[in-house]
Structures are given as C-alpha cells and as structure tokens.
C-alpha cells in the first residue's frame, strides 16, 4: 500500500517535472544555475557578495511592506511611521530589518569592494563588472541618503538639509541640483514627495537591472576569487617555464635566452613589433 503510494508519488513528481521542463526549460536552467564550479579555498570570503545581495533583497521586501502603512506627506509621514513602530503587528521588526539591513548593506558593500580590490578581481576580463559594482555602490549611497528624509523627523530632516546644501555647492549646476531635490526653493511638501519618489521607485528600479547585470557578468566570467586559488597552477607554470629556460640555454647558447620566459605583456609587444 505504502509502496504503491510512494511509486505513484514519484511518478507524479517526475511527470510534473518533465511537464515543466518541456514548457519552460526550468530544470535545465536550475541545473545550469546551481551546478557551477566555484573556487574552494576562499569560499567563506566570497559570501560577502551574497551577503550584500541578501541585504538588498531584505531592503526590497521590507520596503514594500512598509509602504502598506507609510504616507509620504509632511503632515502624516511621521505619524505613519509612529504607527508602524507602535501599533502595527511586527511593525518594529519590519522597520527594524529595513533599518538594520541597510546598515549591514553598507558594511558588506565596503567589505566586498575591499576584497575585490585587494585581490585584483577587477582585472581583465572583469573590468565591466567592477564598473557595474561602482554604479551599484553609488545607487545604494543615494538610496541611503534619500531614505533618511522619509521619516520626517529631526534626524532625517536636518541631515537632508545639510546634504542638499552640499549639493548646492556643485560648480555650475548647484542651484539646479538643490531646486530639483527641494522641488521648489524651500523645504516643504514637495521635498518629501520627491525624496519618496526617488527612494521608492526611481532608484530601486535602476538598482534591479544593475544587480542583474552584475550577476550575469559574474557567471559569465566566473568568480575570480584571489590569487591563492591558483597557487598550484602558478607553481606548475613557473616550473615549466624554468625547465624551458634551461632547455633553451642548452640548445641555443646565450643569445635567445628567456624568449619563452617572456610575460604576457612582453609577448604582446613582440607580436606587435612583428
């Protein structure tokens, strides 16, 4: 009896998997996404990137949830957040996760960036992934800046006043910058509406595709990791080069020493000369 149910269940699940695979190709896609060789030695180090992604996902999720109660007007913004904190079920938690994961996000972005910089992970052919990463960093910084005002409390308001005034010192476009952010020429209802639109729609909408590109490029070129991931191969290479050098000594004497030992750059230069 149990055996029959079991075999039927297996048949059904196999049928459903095949059905989905035939129509969407999802199984192949999942296999492609999941079974990828990644560097082993620094595996814990590369969780920095995924931690960043996780924090951003938390931002999207809790941000959408907060919008169920938040009101972006000067007379109700503070009240609505007060309501979230004091009255809404798990309001403290939802807003707390939004706040704290934003802080963690900036920490992890910094660490992730430092890791990539010091391990040289931005070198060819991964230059554009670094560039996309810098774009993401800037977007997150502007998101952090614009989100602060939405509380419409003393901290957020004054930090934004200072931030906008800093923008007014931009050469040539100072006035336009600050009037764009203010939505007029004084801080008022328009300022909050603008920051709301920028924080909630404009920047997340810009952020999402860049995250997609970042991940696509990551998969295209693979995780570089760090040089210690390649130490065995480098050792083998150097060993072979040394042997070739000795051989060229024995065969040709001194004139053509080191031809095989030339680095990639020198070889390119030589090719260009020829």
């Amino acid at each position: 009896m149990i055996g029959r149910i079991r075999s039927q269940a297996i048949d059904t699940s196999r049928f459903l998997t095949d059905w989905m695979e035939h129509r969407t190709g999802i199984v192949t896609m999942m296999e492609h996404f999941l079974y990828e060789p990644v560097p082993k030695r620094g595996a814990w180090l590369y969780t920095l990137g995924s931690a960043t992604l996780f924090c951003i996902s938390l931002q999207f999720l809790t941000g959408i949830l907060l919008l169920f109660y938040y009101v972006p007007t000067t007379d109700h913004a503070w009240d609505s957040i007060y309501y979230i904190m004091e009255e809404a079920y798990f309001g403290t938690l939802i807003r707390g996760i939004h706040y704290w994961s934003a802080n963690f996000l900036l920490v992890f972005i910094g660490l992730h960036m430092a890791q990539v910089f010091f391990s040289g992970g931005y070198k060819a052919p991964r230059e554009l992934n670094w560039v996309v990463g810098v774009v993401l960093l800037l977007l997150v910084i502007v998101l952090a800046f614009t989100g602060y005002l939405l509380r419409w409390d003393q901290d957020g308001f004054w930090a934004s006043v200072v931030g906008m005034k800093i923008g007014s010192y931009s050469p040539f476009v100072g006035g336009a910058t600050i009037h764009f952010l203010l939505g007029g020429d004084v801080t008022g209802p328009a300022t909050l509406s603008r920051f709301f639109a920028i924080h909630v729609w404009l920047l997340p909408a810009a952020l999402a595709p860049f995250i997609g590109i970042h991940l696509y490029l990551l998969r295209k070129h693979g995780v570089f990791g760090s040089e210690f991931e390649y130490s065995d191969r480098l050792a083998k290479l150097h060993e072979r080069q040394r042997l070739e050098l000795y051989e060229s000594y024995e065969e040709n004497g001194h004139e053509e020493i080191g031809e095989t030992n030339l680095g990639r750059r020198n070889r390119e230069e030589r090719d260009r000369r020829e």
Binding site: V38, P39, W152
Partner: protein, 160 residues
C-alpha cells in the same frame, strides 16, 4: 546563451598551463550547489537574526517630528557619512567648500570607475602590485581616521 564560466573544457591532466590560461580555473573547486549556497545561506541567516535581535534591542530610531525652526537640535549625519562630513571641515571658505564637498568626491568616484584601467598589470596578488595596495590601504586609513575624528568632534561638542 550563457557562456561557460571558469573554463572547464579540458581535463586537468591534458592541459598545458601557459601564461594565458593559468587563471582560467582555480586549483580546487566546489560545486556552487550545495556547498557555496550553504555557506551563503549561513551568513544570510546570521544577518537576518542580527537584524531581528537589533530591531528589538535597538529599534530603528524615530526622533521628534521635523522642526525646521529649531535652534537646539544638532544635525549629525549617519555613521557612513561621518568621514565625508569630517572632510568638509578641511575645506573652509567660499573657494574651497565646493571643491571639497563636490569636486574631490567626483574625482574620487571617477578614479574608482577607472581602477581596472589604471591597474592593468598581470599581477593579482596584493603583495606583488604594491602601488595599488598602498593606495587602497591609504584610502581605508583616511576614511577610518576621518570617521574617528568626526566621532571625537561630536563627543566633544559643547552642550552635548
């Protein structure tokens, strides 16, 4: 559609390692699933738990409603802008404010974008490209020092 990542074309034994392909594949690999996903999940879980615990231990702040006409409130940036705020102290006066607040950060961001083209050498290890490493460490040190100075200034502000 998807180009294969980290070249897995040839079996290890046949491959002749050259300058060109030495960085094609790491010495040792693991499958992304399940191990790496598990590590990622572990870190993510820690973050989520930390967020939950901190949400109740130190709830997201909400100070008094905004009062544009206050004279007692001291505006302070969030911690990740401390170093930037501190930097503004070093650019006083009409001629320098715009330079320090906008031009210098813009140049810095421009250089950040250009990093892959400023450091094109074949070396990856931070020890074998000391120039980039020293510059990177210098940036980190300047940011941290500025942060500490900002904290010191905020703590020592009269009337706080």
């Amino acid at each position: 559609m998807y180009a294969p990542a980290t070249g897995k074309a040839k079996p290890v034994e046949e491959e002749v390692i050259t300058e060109e392909n030495v960085f094609d594949r790491p010495d040792e690999t693991i499958g992304f699933f399940p191990k790496q996903v598990l590590y990622d999940l572990f870190v993510s879980t820690l973050i989520l738990i930390a967020c939950c615990v901190l949400s109740y231990l130190s709830p997201a702040p909400l100070t008094e409603p905004a009062d544009p006409a206050t004279i007692t409130y001291i505006p302070r940036p969030e911690w990740f802008f401390f170093f930037y705020e501190q930097m503004l102290m070093f650019f006083p006066g009409y001629a320098l404010i715009g330079f320090g607040a906008v031009v210098v950060p813009t140049i810095f961001v421009g250089l950040l974008f250009a990093v892959p083209w400023l450091d094109t050498g074949p070396q990856y290890s931070p020890l074998r490209r000391p120039f980039a490493t020293v510059i990177g460490l210098l940036v980190v040190v300047v940011v941290v020092l500025n942060m500490l100075m900002a904290v010191a200034r905020i703590i020592n502000f009269p009337g706080q």
